[in-house]
């Protein structure tokens, strides 16, 4: 049984395309990364899955259940971290967490642990949400979604606004949820983040799902740019290889595009004295180009 299963799910806003013919099958116990640039259709998909938008055509099932007839049952095991967090500003964090937990009609067994892990103190919780920083609001949104231990978590760019330490806390909880057989649908435009925690990745662009792959395969195909500055002038022909592409080679500077295993390249570089090496995280656009090509 799939936790999420969509069939030709399509949403148009008048003549404007939101998402088109989306067919997803996400298993239980899987972290599914939904990756795409801004405006690609990620948030539309999430809002469709949460029934906040009505599909133009197509259907979807959650936990194998018909979302038209059994939505109330489904929501009992579903939680959401919305993108662009906006909350009830005039209530305290503590009131908000209690309110969300009571609405779900279930206890919140993970609440104390989450509060501790994300370091939200009781004095923080007593303050009104309108006085919270962006990061604190994000933490609160994550805690409300996870506190009642849902079977399915739908998260729209949940790490936005979090510092690196809290990002790690979030990833740790997501892995734990996965290991407990829960499903996480995770949208992001941050490629390294998706590579780090997801089991499978779906790439969406211009409202269409371009590809779906296990994250290992995806990482292997990811193109990364490496810029090296050597201590001495190099002979550019020495770097001709089928394993990477030389983009630029001028004097002591070399720029390469690399995908897959980088060890042969590192072995080659070890023969030279290097002054500086820049190997940034891959950009989403470069990865898309690979798939388009």
């Amino acid at each position: 049984m799939y936790s999420i299963e969509t069939s030709d799910l399509t949403k148009y806003y008048g003549p404007t395309r939101g998402i088109e013919n989306l067919n997803l099958q996400i298993k239980s116990g899987e972290i599914y990364g939904f990756l795409g640039p801004n405006g690609a259709g990620k948030s539309t998909t999430i809002r469709l899955l949460l029934k906040l938008l009505l599909p133009t055509r197509g259907t979807f099932r959650i936990f194998g259940k018909d979302t038209q007839k059994k939505w109330k049952e489904i929501t009992g095991n579903l939680s959401n971290v919305p993108g662009e967090i906006k909350m009830y500003e005039d209530i305290s964090g503590a009131y908000f967490l209690n309110f969300m937990s009571r609405l779900s009609g279930k206890p919140a067994p993970l609440k104390p642990e989450l509060l501790e892990a994300f370091r939200l103190s009781s004095s923080d919780l007593q303050r009104k949400i309108k006085y919270y920083s962006r990061g604190m609001k994000q933490k609160l949104a994550i805690i409300q979604a996870m506190q009642d231990n849902p079977q399915l978590l739908i998260m729209d760019e949940p790490s936005e606004g979090l510092d690196p330490l809290n990002k790690e806390v979030l990833y740790e909880f997501l892995r734990r949820f996965r290991n407990e057989g829960k499903t996480i649908f995770f949208s992001s435009h941050n490629l390294p983040e998706v590579e780090k925690i997801c089991d499978r990745v779906g790439l969406v662009r211009d409202g269409k799902l371009i590809t779906e792959e296990p994250v290992g395969e995806f990482s292997r195909k990811t193109i990364r740019k490496m810029t090296i500055r050597f201590r001495r002038k190099i002979n550019c022909t020495e770097f001709d290889s089928a394993r990477w592409t030389v983009v630029e080679c001028i004097d002591r500077n070399l720029t390469l595009l690399v995908s897959g295993d980088i060890n042969p390249l590192l072995k080659k570089l070890s023969e030279y004295e290097i002054e500086n090496l820049i190997f940034p995280e891959p950009s989403l656009e470069e990865t898309f180009m690979k798939y388009y090509n």
Partner: protein, 266 residues
Amino acid sequence: MNSWYHIKKIFHDQKLMVAILFVFLMFFQFMFSWIAFESAMGAMLETYIQFLPKMIVNLLELQTGGPAFASQMLAFGYSHPLILTAVFAMLINLAARYIAGESENHTFDLLLVRPVSRTRIVSNVFLVQLSVTALLSISMFAGTVLGKIIFDINIALSRYALAVLTGFFFFNGIGSMALLISTYSFEKGKAVARSVGLIVFLFFYHTIFKMWTSMNDLLYISYFQIYVPGRIVGGLDDWRVKSLIAALVTIACFLAAVHRFRYRDL
């Protein structure tokens, strides 16, 4: 049952406003009983109204020169523009904030992912409107009762109770219209503006045809003609018919709001 917490939250947000309005309305009606029956201002007002043009006197529904003036004056307090403005503002605010406002702020993204249906959300806001209207109606009547007890006024309280009851249905009609408008709006400000616009239109329609005596027949289709407390207290209007019409408007607007909210994007 868990959606009860949604209602509780709305009351939690609005408790101060409701409390202030409750006290204000009670005090206002109490003061009206003092003005109409105890103070010299009542006689002064009666003299003043005699000098007003006939069309204005028609609009106020106050018959001067008889013993009924003070009773009518007391009933007029229930539909005084200040009272109408205060109650309408409260009802419009509830609908706009908890339907259009939540849509604007995307807080429905959190709420509707819980086992709370869209129908329940609209019903909850409607229930809060009903409760607030009931509370405010009680406070107005309590002001009159207080006046009767303190000033020992000789009035038939039951007639005033019927006027307040009709007012309860009338106000709920306005509340459900605001609710319907909010389900068509994605921003709180627009929902408020549209609701105020509708009320202003209904009020001016009523005012114009009430002052224009040869066009008085058109008042039969004026929503504000439902609630003329002076006529209900004086037995000139059948409160049952008026209340029934207001209740039908309320139910129709509520059902339309539920339908609209169930089938719209958020």
